[in-house]
Structures are given as structure tokens and as C-alpha cells.
């Protein structure tokens, strides 16, 4: 039987190969009857197949598609014949063929794929841009590279992804890629002389490269394995390598010959003291740190800091700022804060002698349209803010600490305690304190009777707090 001749475009003609393979399968042409060539004369182009319109897609394992896309980049003239043979076998009873790496055809294609992958990797690693200026005055970065296979198109996504915000061009002997921050265009084959021959940053890069070289650990073999010599002539940093390797043994010998050096006398006590004396020493310093730091929960950027006098009689610790607190940048100014103020006045606690703060300093919320719905911080987040709260209380030195709600209790004790179970007098690291509910809990209770009862209990809690603060501090269990 006569064989059918298929001519594809030069290089990695993936589309052409796919079209031709579909048509050949549709015509039931076994591999022996198809004669694949690429880069052939136009007169032979598509002689038998390409003109016959579109054949249905082939149903191949997913892994086959990936293999084909990479192997078409290989420069081996047999690549299309080998790939068609694979397709044929996959469709004729050997659907799992790609799992059999011991098969000579699969092994050969995998070896080709490996070679293409290595080439891609080397291009990603060893391509060097040089800066030029476009006619409109903007910077363009241009690189010259000589890949081993036809990988220019295959590599485009990588460079677009990495250098999306720059204008750049990659020139190769097989074609060019241009990126203008929005569109990618392909250009004709280029010459090395089309690329700029230097860049102002290359000197700095070379200096860096040379100074990271350790003569005592020089390993020429590993060096060449990583960066094969064929890439050297296009890399700015490689010029120094032969000299570095040549002088390495001598430099290492000299270091050893010089022997141990006499130490410089510096006072270690001073240095060690300086080191230990770190971290905020005043509340202002701590607050500056907190304000400058990124939130440790997802949510608002603004840290809401504690308020009140140093050495306050009582410190109230809440959960986290709410919507209104975040807007105003002050703690306990929302509905829960107003409720607390009211009860404090009722039980005779002087608000000006009170320090108020939160376990978590940022408002964690979920956007729901225009509104920001409060979200409870999780234990991990509470723990992250704990260092700040404990430092804050250490600097404020309150005589008495009240935990409002479970989050405050968790932060102050480091333990997940139930407010309802431990409600009452408690010690926080040696400081007398009290655990009760958060006022926002009272606001959330739906039914009026329960709410009234809970309010009364909360008021009694604060009355006890007032009494305990007025009386000399007593040890409680």
C-alpha cells in the first residue's frame, strides 16, 4: 500500500500535528503508512491530509496530551512519527501504555521529554535581560538566548507570568517573543547582534557572583553540572569562573597558612546587655509597634489600642474592636461600650480610673454588602495577640483585671476556659481579677426576660468587682 506523506511546519508545530494526527486516525492510517516530515518544501505541504478539513478530536489519556505538547518541541526529526505511533497504540488496545515506562517507545519519548524539560529549565534560569529604551522613552528588557529545542512558544507563559509588569523581548535564532504588558507577539528569527551588548547592572552582578565563591569549597564538577559550559558565552557572570577555579587552591592554602587570627578585644558584657535590653519599655513604644504592625487576623488594618491611665485601678479586657471602634480607632465606644459605661456608673466605678483594652487589636469581620459582620477570632489568632496584651498589662500595671468574655479569658490565662464555669474571682498571673461575660453577649440575648436577668447578674458581678477593688486585695481560690 502506498504511504501518505504529511509535511508540518518547522519546529514545534503542535496544532499542525494534532490536525494531521486526527485526520490520519479518522482515515484509519496505521503508523507504517504515514510518512512525517517537517519544514519541508511548500509543494509537499499537506499533500494527502491537510486539505481534507477537520477530523474529530481523539480521546487520549490526559498524560498523553501533556507528553505530546512537550515532545513536539524536541529537535529530533522523528518526533512526529514516534508520537503518531504512540497515539495509534493508545487507541488500539494499549490504553494504559503510558504507565509502562519499560516499553521502548515510551522510554524514548520520556527521554525526549526530559531533554525538553531540561532545556526549558535552563532557559528559565540562564536567560539574562539587558535594559534598553523604547522609542517612547520607556524601558524595555531584551534577552538573547539559544535554546537546544524549539521551546520559545512553550516558555512564553513562564516569562509573561514572571515579568508581567515589564516590557520585554526574547530573541532566539528560531524566532522572537515580545511582551508589551498586555499582548504577546511572535517575531522572526533574530541575531545576537540585535540584542544590546551590555547592561549597567552587570558589573554589580559579576562582583556579587565572584564574592560568593568560596575557594575552600570549590567543586568544578558540580558547577558545570548546574551550569553547562555551552551557556557560558551568553551569561554575564561566567567570565570570571576559570580564573576563580584556577586560583581557588592557592587562596584556600593561604587562608590556612595565615592561621588563627588574634581576636579583636570587644567587651562582650556590653554587647550581651544590649541584646537582652530589647522590646518596648513604655506603653507608648508598645503602642507604636502595634500600630505599625500588620494585622495578625484577616480584617481591618487599623489597630485599636487600649485607653486609660497607667497604674489604673481596674483593667477591663474585651474581645476585639467592633465596627464602630474600628471607625473611631478607640476601644469600647460602640453599643457594648456604652452598656459597660452605664453599669460602671451604676455600681460607682470611676470610669476615668479604668483602663480598657481588647485581647485582639484588630477588627475581624466578614463583608456582607455594605455591612461588616463581626467574626469571632479563633484560638490561634488570640494566641498570636497574647504577647502584646500581656506586655500591655505589664506596662499599665493595673491593680485588678476583669476578663469580659471567653476570648479575654483565653488570652489572659492561655487556657480555653468556659466563662459560665469560672465566672467570679480569679487570679491572672498573680494579679487579682474577675471573669464575667462580655457586654455584647447581653445585647444579643433575644428574649426580654432572659436579658433582664442577665443584666442583673452582670451588674452584681461589677458590684463585687467594685467591692473587691475597694477592699484590700484578698486571695481567692
Amino acid at each position: 500500500m502506498q504511504s501518505v506523506r504529511i509535511a508540518l511546519k518547522n519546529g514545534a508545530d503542535f496544532e499542525g500535528f494534532r490536525r494531521a494526527a486526527r485526520q490520519s486516525v479518522a482515515r484509519d492510517l496505521p503508523p507504517d503508512r504515514v510518512d512525517w516530515s517537517s519544514g519541508a518544501e511548500p509543494s509537499l505541504f499537506g499533500e494527502a491530509v491537510a486539505s481534507e478539513g477537520i477530523a474529530p478530536p481523539l480521546s487520549l489519556p490526559r498524560a498523553a496530551g501533556e507528553l505530546i505538547a512537550q515532545v513536539v518541541c524536541h529537535r529530533d526529526p522523528e518526533r512526529f512519527a514516534l508520537l503518531y505511533r504512540l497515539i495509534w497504540r493508545l487507541l488500539h488496545g494499549e490504553h494504559a501504555l503510558l504507565e509502562v515506562h519499560s516499553d521502548p517507545l515510551v522510554h524514548r519519548l520520556e527521554t525526549m521529554r526530559k531533554s525538553v524539560r531540561r532545556d526549558l529549565h535552563k532557559m528559565h534560569a540562564f536567560l539574562r535581560f539587558r535594559e534598553t529604551t523604547d522609542p517612547d522613552g520607556e524601558a524595555r528588557f531584551v534577552a538573547w538566548f539559544e535554546p537546544e529545542h524549539d521551546i520559545l512558544a512553550a516558555t512564553a507563559d513562564f516569562f509573561v507570568e514572571r515579568f508581567r509588569s515589564m516590557r520585554w523581548s526574547i530573541l532566539t535564532p528560531g524566532g522572537a517573543l515580545h511582551w508589551d504588558r498586555e499582548r504577546l507577539t511572535f517575531g522572526p528569527p533574530a541575531h545576537k547582534s540585535d540584542a544590546p551588548d551590555g547592561d549597567a547592572f552587570e558589573a554589580a552582578w559579576r562582583r556579587y557572583y565572584e564574592s560568593t565563591f568560596n575557594p575552600a569549597r570549590a567543586n568544578p564538577k558540580a558547577m558545570r553540572q548546574h551550569m553547562a559550559k555551552k551557556y557560558w558565552h551568553n551569561l554575564p557572570e561566567t567570565a570570571a569562573i576559570p580564573e576563580l577555579l584556577r586560583t581557588a587552591p592557592q587562596r584556600a592554602r593561604e587562608m590556612i597558612a595565615r592561621g588563627a587570627a588574634l581576636p579583636v578585644k570587644r567587651d562582650p558584657a556590653l554587647a550581651v546587655a544590649a541584646m537582652a535590653d530589647q522590646g518596648p519599655r513604655t506603653l507608648e513604644e508598645l503602642n507604636r509597634l502595634i500600630a505599625a504592625s500588620e494585622p495578625l487576623t484577616p480584617g481591618a488594618d487599623r489597630a485599636v489600642l487600649g485607653e486609660g491611665p497607667i497604674g489604673a485601678e481596674i483593667a477591663f479586657v474585651g474581645e476585639q474592636p467592633g465596627d464602630q471602634e474600628d471607625r473611631e480607632g478607640r476601644p469600647f465606644v460602640g453599643p457594648a461600650g456604652r452598656l459597660l459605661d452605664g453599669v460602671l456608673a451604676e455600681v460607682g466605678i470611676d470610669r476615668t480610673k479604668v483602663y480598657v483594652t481588647n485581647a485582639v487589636k484588630h477588627f475581624k469581620y466578614e463583608p456582607r454588602g455594605e455591612r461588616r459582620l463581626h467574626k469571632k477570632p479563633n484560638p490561634g489568632e488570640v494566641k498570636r495577640y497574647r504577647w502584646w496584651l500581656l506586655k500591655e498589662l505589664e506596662l499599665v500595671r493595673p491593680h485588678f483585671v476583669v476578663a469580659l468574655g471567653g476570648t479575654a479569658l483565653l488570652s489572659l490565662t492561655g487556657k480555653p476556659l468556659s466563662v459560665m464555669k469560672v465566672r467570679g474571682a480569679i487570679q491572672f498571673d498573680g494579679v487579682p481579677g474577675y471573669a464575667t461575660v462580655h457586654p455584647s453577649y447581653l445585647l444579643r440575648l433575644p428574649d426580654e426576660v432572659t436579658k433582664r436577668e442577665a443584666m442583673a447578674t452582670f451588674r452584681r458581678d461589677l458590684e463585687r468587682v467594685a467591692a473587691m477593688v475597694a477592699a484590700p486585695p484578698s486571695r481567692s481560690s
Partner: protein, 349 residues
């Protein structure tokens, strides 16, 4: 990965004997500003010299101050330069815990150097460092990385790693590997880097002047892989050498096989994954390919040759459909020299 690996400064308050930048060294001192490091990173990155930044620093003023400056570099790169490259920050374990939290928001990887494998060595060679502080910081970081993964938040997405200096003290390979296994287990480390101590200009008098052989570092990395991907315990790997030191002439897997000759040959068509992983010359990928291929075919020696890197190395250890090793392994005396690689590296001394 090619990273711009620099120090923010080589001024240092610490006096670690193995480090050229130790307080008592008379090395020349220099420092970068935060903006200089940012500009250098961005410009090198734009030219594709580097894929990212690996920033470390001597301790200046205080650990907190130093850590803040390093974090500021990462923050500026991300926020002001829109830098999407890789950032690895060498964390300072003596810094306050909240600073590590901040660093994790901007870095891809954080690392804390263990430096020396025992508290005793640390006390004598790095007097300002403390094993407990280092372990505490690793623990904190491990917890945060795990939490962030669960909450799908960004916090050091490429995990944490550490570095141990090899050859500056008398620690054996066995002790090093036991330490590494514990680090992988307790702190979920991605990598332990073994950095052979090398003679430095103006070395401290308490250190050996001769570096450990390059091969030791290499053997430790091979052994480390056996722990992580080949199901070996640190005890098994250590027992492959003598007196707690790995063999230098053959790789640790071959050394183990030579001491456990009774476990071979292994039948490539029937052996389970664990047994195949123990065959010298069979990598994890080859083993997976063998397992996949033999579901469809009985493997002959030529097939194995296409599945593994080199069939010659495997000959004493494998049985295939058409092959058995001619002599029992236990009787082969010349096996060890066969498994030894050609001396790859000439000594520079």
C-alpha cells in the same frame, strides 16, 4: 533556585566561633540600608539574574531591631515594588515572637538556624545562643505555619528550614541524623541543610583548621533523603557506617545493603515498594515506575534498564524475569569497591 544571598550587615553582637562575622573577628564591616537591598533585589530580578532574595543578617543593636529591618525589606518588596519573587528570611530566634509573625506575612520561607547539633556545642562555640530559645522559635513557627494552612492564610507558604554546621565540633553523623529526624518530626521542617564548616579567613583559634571532607556533607544529604523518602530510620542509616560516622567510600544506601546482604536479591516483579526502595541504585521515581509497569507486564532485565538510571549497579541486588545474580551476595568480596564511585573530587590540600 538562584537567589540573591546577602547579609543586611556583617556587624554582629554575637561571638560564634565558626562565623567570620563574629564580634571578635577583625573582618571589615559593612551594611546595606533597607532601600539598597530592595533596589538591588528588584534590579537583579528584572534582569532574571535571580529568582528571589535570601536575606540574613548579623545582629546589630538588638535581635528585635535586626529582625524588624529584615522584615521591612520583605514588606517593602511586596507592598511598594509589587515583588512576586521568592523571599527567604533567616529568622533571628532571639527576636520577640511577634516579629516572627510579621516576617511570615511577607516571606515565602522562614528559617531558623540550629547551627550546632547539641546544647553543649552551642554553649562552647556560640555563647550568646541558647538551644531552648531556638527550639521555642521553631515550635512557634511550626504552629503558625500549620494554623495558616488550615485557615488558608498566607504565612511562610514554603515552610521552614534550618542549617546545621558540620565539622566544627565532634558530633557524629549518627547524632546529626537523629537530630534531623527529630526536627522533621517535631517541627515539620521542609529541609535540614548541612553546611560543612570551612576554614574562614581569620579563623577562631578554638576551631579545627582543616575542613571536613566535601564528601561528608554529600553523604549526610544522601542519608537525609533516606530518612525522608526511603523509609529508613536514623539508626539504620547510622549503622551502615562505623562508630557513628557514615562511610565515605560508598553512599549510605549501598553501605546499608553491604551490611544487610541477606536481604538481597529482591525480585523486581514481586517485591513490595519498601523492599525496592532499599535497592542501591533504585530511586523513588524508578520504584514507582516499576510498580506501575509491572501491573501490565513481567519485567525483564532490559525493561529494568529503561526504568532505572543504570542497570549495572543493580545487577547484584535484583532478580528479573530473565535474570538472577550469578553468585550469592554474601560471598562476593569485591562488591564494595564496585559500588564505590570514582573519586569525584580531588582534595585541594
Amino acid at each position: 533556585m538562584s537567589l540573591l544571598k546577602i547579609l543586611l550587615t556583617n556587624y554582629c553582637l554575637f561571638d560564634c566561633a565558626y562565623c567570620i562575622n563574629r564580634r571578635s573577628s577583625n573582618v571589615e564591616r559593612a551594611r546595606f540600608t533597607v532601600d539598597e537591598v530592595v533596589a538591588l533585589t528588584v534590579n537583579f530580578y528584572k534582569r532574571n539574574y535571580i529568582e528571589g532574595l535570601f536575606l540574613s543578617s548579623g545582629i546589630v543593636r538588638s535581635p528585635d531591631h535586626t529582625m524588624e529591618q529584615m522584615t521591612l525589606v520583605a514588606k517593602k518588596l511586596r507592598r511598594e515594588e509589587g515583588f512576586a519573587g521568592y523571599i527567604h528570611l533567616k529568622t533571628i530566634p532571639e527576636a520577640s515572637p511577634w516579629l516572627i509573625e510579621q516576617a511570615g506575612l511577607f516571606a515565602d520561607r522562614l528559617s531558623i538556624n540550629l547551627e550546632l547539633p547539641s546544647a553543649e556545642s552551642l554553649r562552647s562555640l556560640a555563647p550568646e545562643k541558647d538551644a531552648g530559645t531556638i527550639a521555642g522559635a521553631m515550635g512557634q513557627m511550626h504552629e503558625r505555619i500549620a494554623e495558616a494552612k488550615e485557615d488558608r492564610r498566607r504565612f511562610s507558604p514554603a515552610g521552614q528550614s534550618t542549617q546545621i554546621i558540620v565539622g566544627a565540633d565532634a558530633t557524629t553523623d549518627a547524632a546529626l541524623l537523629t537530630t534531623s529526624a527529630a526536627l522533621y518530626r517535631d517541627y515539620g521542617l521542609r529541609r535540614v541543610y548541612y553546611s560543612a564548616f570551612s576554614p574562614i579567613p581569620a579563623a577562631s583559634a578554638v576551631l579545627p583548621l582543616k575542613p571536613p571532607p566535601l564528601q561528608r556533607e554529600n553523604r549526610l544529604y544522601q542519608a537525609d533523603w533516606l530518612l525522608r523518602f526511603y523509609g529508613f530510620t536514623p539508626e539504620e542509616v547510622a549503622a551502615s557506617g562505623e562508630d557513628g560516622m557514615l562511610a565515605l567510600d560508598v553512599d549510605p544506601k549501598s553501605a546499608w545493603a553491604l551490611k544487610n546482604r541477606g536481604r538481597f536479591p529482591v525480585d523486581v516483579n514481586t517485591a513490595d515498594r519498601e523492599a525496592l526502595l532499599r535497592v542501591p541504585g533504585l530511586g523513588a521515581r524508578s520504584v514507582d515506575r516499576i510498580l506501575a509497569a509491572r501491573r501490565h507486564t513481567r519485567l525483564k532485565l532490559a525493561d529494568v534498564g529503561r526504568l532505572a538510571r543504570s542497570v549495572k549497579r543493580l545487577l547484584p541486588f535484583l532478580v528479573a524475569a530473565d535474570y538472577r545474580p550469578p553468585t550469592a551476595l554474601a560471598d562476593k568480596a569485591e562488591l564494595r569497591p564496585q559500588l564505590a564511585e570514582a573519586p569525584a573530587q580531588l582534595s585541594l590540600f
